[in-house]
Each structure stands twice: as structure tokens, then as C-alpha cells.
């Protein structure tokens, strides 16, 4: 297994509506990533791209359509798509291009343009449900989160305030992120608890709304890192992914078992057997505030039901013992699905290479973990990085 490092990253702003086309968004993120790695497109051996439903951008086989924006012109380029899990999964696909020996330098570019979709990107989510079992009930996407959040809260007797704390932490953390759409230095738990009830128990400020954006990473083999004299490579030490059965109504939603499996796969490679001790910080996927807690437990960073306690005690603040979502997360920066790679794997890279600016975690850090989550409460991808 060849060693693989991240040597550059880039992303665009995340906003509800951006003027740039999907190709232009890709180009901007790619250009920034290549610049940061001091490389040109001719140095890139292969490209991987990740993007979630084609229906957002409004183009079938959209990976083909925006391939040129990613530098996929006359190169091998492949798109992978695991729903929301794509943000951390496409870097894994890029990882195996290098780890297998096929390529020395691989670009991974993730893009999402949700604003193209009318009347609202939400409508696309009507089509993620089973046509016979679920769709006739005319479900709204928020129902998924509401049902999972309710089950999680009820099984562990969690108070809504403890969940709201996550939204507050992340939206405040996001003030330090240049790309943030939803940063709010002054938001409080009361603000979250008083926000509009969407589908109980989910309220407006529990959710990260749709966004446009793109992000890119440059991955390199150990040989390339040496050859290029890369100063601060950040190594992929463990990768894992797992999907649960399609039959989501058959599972107990209080705990993401598939995430635990994916984590175990990644931790085994990274030689981590005590995650809470051996991991310095985490970027769990946080499209909703309760998801950060759900995923902390799925990442085996604490016992089931314990994540709210860690949050309440300040352990997950940027200056805490286990900084969690120091980027500001999806809640603070925005949620252009696959493009959130920039605030998950991208954040791990920027933190571990000391480039996180005002977001830089004050304590010494060497090991970080991130996950993304997708499909019908079903899939997770996990990456452990070290520097």
C-alpha cells in the first residue's frame, strides 16, 4: 500500500446562489488547489470528481459536462457518487488511484450547484425515496432528519438545548472561515430554540441550507512529495466506507452502525484502537446539529449517548480537548453537498499543515478524523489524516 498525502487544497465561497456555472466553480477551486501545491494541470496524472444528484445542476451525466472545469480534458477522469457521503468518499477514490500505483499526482474536485434547481433544490429530494414504499406519502427531506433526530433524542433522553449548542458552536466557529455563508458570531441557544419549527423536532436553525460551491484537493504519492519538496504534506493514514441496507425502515436510527464499521476500517489501517485518546480533532459531517453528535458516537469518539455531554462541557470547542468542526462545519459555512469536501478533508489538511489561519486549533495536533454521510441514512465514508 503506497503512502498518499494531501499537498494542496482550494475552494470557492459557499453561497445560496453563485453566478458561476458548474464548470467555472470547478475551475476556481481547482486553480486555487493547484496554486497552493505549486503545480500545473500537466503535472496531474488523473482526476477524480464527486458531485451529488445530477438533478441539482440540471444535467444528466453531469460529471461529463463539467469535466473540463476540473482539468479532465484528455486525462483519465472518473466521477463517484455516494450521496452526501461523496464529500469524503471522492478523496478516498483519489487515494486509491495513488495507493494502487496507477498515478503519482491526482486531483479531486467536488462541485455542487443547487441553485439551478427550481422551485427549490428540495424538490430533488422527492426522488431519493423508494417509489412504492415511500414516495406516495409525498415525503419532505426534513422528515428523514426529524425521524432520526427524534429516535436519537428519545433513546438517550437528550434535551434539545444540548443539540442546539452544536449549531451555536459551529456557526460561531465559522466566523473565522473566509468562505462561510452562515457564520454568526452572536447566535445563542435561545435563537435556535426559538427558530421556526419545520418538522418537529427539527427547527430552522438546526439545518444547513442548500448552497453552491466547489472544492479541490491535490493528492500525491510519497515519491512525488519528495520530488516536489513539499513542506507540509498531510498523510492519509486510514480510509473506510460502508453502506447499510436500503430498507431504512428496518433499522434503529439512534446509532449509525454503518459509520462505526467504516470507522473501524479506517482506524485499523491507521493503527488507532483508542480513538478518543489517539485522535486530536474531528470534522464529523454536520448537515444538522444533531448529526455532529450522532457522528461523534458513530466515529467511536465517545460512548453512545455521550456526545451531548462532551458538547455541554466545552470539550468540542476549538480550544477544547477534542475540537470538533473547528471549520464551522456545514452549519456555519454552507452545504453544497459534495463540495463540503473542502470543509471536511480540506479542513483536516489546512489544520494539520498549519494553514487554518484564524481557525487554527491552538493545541498541538497530529491526527484528525472526518466523515461524510449520505444516501438514505445509510452510507458513511471516513478518512484519518496525520502530519
Amino acid at each position: 500500500m503506497r503512502k498518499v498525502a494531501c499537498i494542496g487544497a482550494g475552494m470557492t465561497l459557499f453561497r445560496r446562489r453563485l453566478k458561476e456555472t458548474p464548470k467555472e466553480l470547478c475551475w476556481e477551486a481547482t486553480r486555487m488547489a493547484l496554486d497552493s501545491a505549486k503545480l500545473e494541470m500537466k503535472d496531474v496524472d488523473a482526476v477524480v470528481t464527486g458531485s451529488a444528484p445530477d438533478a441539482f445542476d440540471g444535467v444528466h451525466q453531469k460529471g461529463e459536462y463539467y469535466a473540463d472545469g476540473c482539468g479532465g480534458f484528455r486525462k483519465p477522469i472518473t466521477r463517484v457518487f455516494t450521496g452526501g457521503g461523496t464529500a469524503v468518499f471522492s478523496p478516498i477514490a483519489a487515494w486509491w488511484h495513488v495507493a494502487s500505483g496507477l498515478a503519482d499526482i491526482v486531483l479531486v474536485v467536488n462541485e455542487e450547484k443547487m441553485s439551478s434547481c427550481y422551485p427549490h433544490p428540495q424538490s430533488v429530494f422527492a426522488h431519493i425515496w423508494d417509489p412504492i414504499l415511500d414516495r406516495p406519502l409525498q415525503p419532505n427531506l426534513v422528515w428523514i432528519f426529524a425521524m432520526e433526530m427524534n429516535r436519537y433524542m428519545t433513546v438517550h433522553k437528550i434535551k434539545k438545548e444540548d443539540i442546539a449548542r452544536v449549531a451555536v458552536k459551529n456557526k460561531r466557529n465559522a466566523v473565522a472561515h473566509p468562505a462561510a455563508q452562515l457564520a454568526d458570531a452572536k447566535i445563542t441557544v435561545e435563537d435556535v430554540l426559538n427558530s421556526e419549527m419545520m418538522a418537529w423536532p427539527v427547527q430552522r436553525l438546526d439545518i444547513s441550507p442548500p448552497s453552491d460551491g466547489a472544492s479541490a484537493l491535490v493528492l500525491a504519492s510519497a515519491d512525488a512529495v519528495k520530488r516536489l519538496h513539499v513542506e507540509s504534506p498531510v498523510w492519509f493514514d486510514g480510509v473506510g466506507w460502508c453502506i447499510d441496507s436500503t430498507m431504512w425502515t428496518d433499522r434503529d436510527l439512534y446509532f449509525p452502525e454503518y459509520l462505526a464499521r467504516a470507522s473501524q476500517m479506517a482506524y485499523k489501517q491507521a493503527r488507532i484502537d483508542q480513538p478518543r485518546k489517539q485522535i486530536d480533532f474531528a470534522e464529523p459531517y454536520d448537515p444538522f446539529d444533531y448529526k455532529e453528535l450522532h457522528h461523534m458516537e458513530g466515529l467511536l469518539l465517545c460512548n453512545k449517548g455521550e456526545a451531548p455531554k462532551l458538547t455541554r462541557e466545552g470539550v468540542t470547542q476549538r480550544d477544547g480537548d477534542l475540537p470538533t468542526c473547528p471549520s464551522g462545519g456545514l452549519l456555519g459555512i454552507g452545504n453544497p453537498i459534495a463540495a463540503t469536501m473542502g470543509i471536511k478533508v480540506g479542513e483536516l489538511y489546512w489544520q494539520l499543515s498549519g494553514q487554518a489561519g484564524k481557525r487554527q486549533i491552538p493545541k498541538e495536533i497530529h491526527t484528525g478524523v472526518t466523515n461524510a454521510w449520505g444516501d438514505l441514512m445509510q452510507f458513511s465514508s471516513v478518512v484519518v489524516m496525520r502530519a
Binding site: 453563485l18 453566478k19 418538522a199 425502515t249
Partner: protein, 179 residues
């Protein structure tokens, strides 16, 4: 751990030009509009065809796997755990337990509604534990609905059934102890 390279050169803005809904409505942001013609008719297949037929008969049906002994609901022709074809059809009851629920003030297009929709997952009596389906709950209020509540299906009258999960109008609470 301080690196000499910045994420982005100082003073250079991060890329992306924000647009507002107003700019789009006023036409100051140029757009191209297109509506895809995307129509599908999915073959229901063996398992779902029988499931839908039975719904029209006012019944819920499951499949049994003799290897793991699970009674699988919704029914499927292969057991995903044992990876083998399932063995027999088995009726299950139209009563169950609320595993989780939500009280929704949004419709399918994210528009606000005043009368909430009660929806969730009901695990069905007779199937293996926690095997169930998503459906509406009725004759409940925000205060009365809870996880663990025992419920029973309220069916549409036979002439109104079409072979759909909507042949059940909703699931309503039943007093504890009755099935």
C-alpha cells in the same frame, strides 16, 4: 506547525460571485431555463407486486427467510443478510408500534402548512423486531404521539383502494393491551 504557505495569498478574495433571488427575479442575472422530460415506469417486480395486491385486499404481507428465521417486512425475494432467496409468504398484522415520528409543518416542496402532518415509522406486529414502514399517523396530537405508542392501520374502504401504501389512510393509536 506554522507553514510558510498560506491557504490563499493575503488580500486575494475567495472565488465566487453571489447572486440574490431579487437579481434573478428582476432578470439582471441571465438565465437559461429547461425542463427535463424524465418519465419512468418502474416494474414493481415479484415482491412489490404481491405487496401491493395484498394492500388492495386490506392485508400486509411479508417474506420469511428460513436460514436466519427473520420475517422480512417490507417483503423481498432475497434475504440481504443471508444472500439467498426468501422462502415463503407470511401475513403480518396491521397493528404495530411507533419507532419514531415527526410532526411536519412542511409539505413536499418545503412550503409551510398550518395543519401538521404526523409521519413516522411503524414496526409491524408479526414481522421481525423493528421491521416496518413509513406512514402517516392520525387521531393524534403533538402532545399524545410518542415513540412506543401502539397503533393500528385505518384502511380506506375496498372500492377506494388501488394497490398502494395509501390504501391505508393512517395509523391510529389503540388502547394498550388490545391488538
Amino acid at each position: 506547525m506554522k507553514a510558510k504557505v498560506r491557504a490563499k495569498p493575503k488580500g486575494v478574495a475567495w472565488a465566487g460571485e453571489e447572486l440574490s433571488q431579487k437579481q434573478i427575479d428582476r432578470g439582471s442575472a441571465l438565465q437559461t431555463r429547461y425542463r427535463p422530460e424524465a418519465k419512468y415506469s418502474w416494474a414493481a417486480g415479484q415482491a412489490m407486486s404481491r405487496f401491493l395486491e395484498e394492500l388492495q385486499n386490506g392485508k400486509l404481507i411479508a417474506r420469511k427467510c428460513h436460514a436466519c428465521q427473520r420475517t422480512l417486512f417490507p417483503p423481498r425475494m432475497f434475504c440481504e443478510q443471508c444472500y439467498r432467496p426468501t422462502d415463503e409468504w407470511v401475513y403480518v398484522k396491521d397493528s404495530g408500534t411507533i419507532e419514531t415520528f415527526s410532526v411536519s409543518y412542511l409539505d413536499k416542496d418545503a412550503k409551510r402548512i398550518t395543519e401538521p402532518i404526523f409521519v413516522g415509522v411503524v414496526s409491524v406486529d408479526g414481522a421481525s423486531p423493528q421491521m416496518g414502514m413509513m406512514h402517516y399517523f392520525g387521531e393524534v396530537t403533538k402532545e399524545t404521539i410518542r415513540i412506543g405508542m401502539k397503533v393500528k392501520a385505518v384502511w380506506k374502504p375496498p372500492p377506494e383502494r388501488t394497490g398502494s401504501v395509501l390504501d391505508i389512510r393512517y395509523w391510529k393509536p389503540i388502547p394498550e393491551g388490545r391488538r
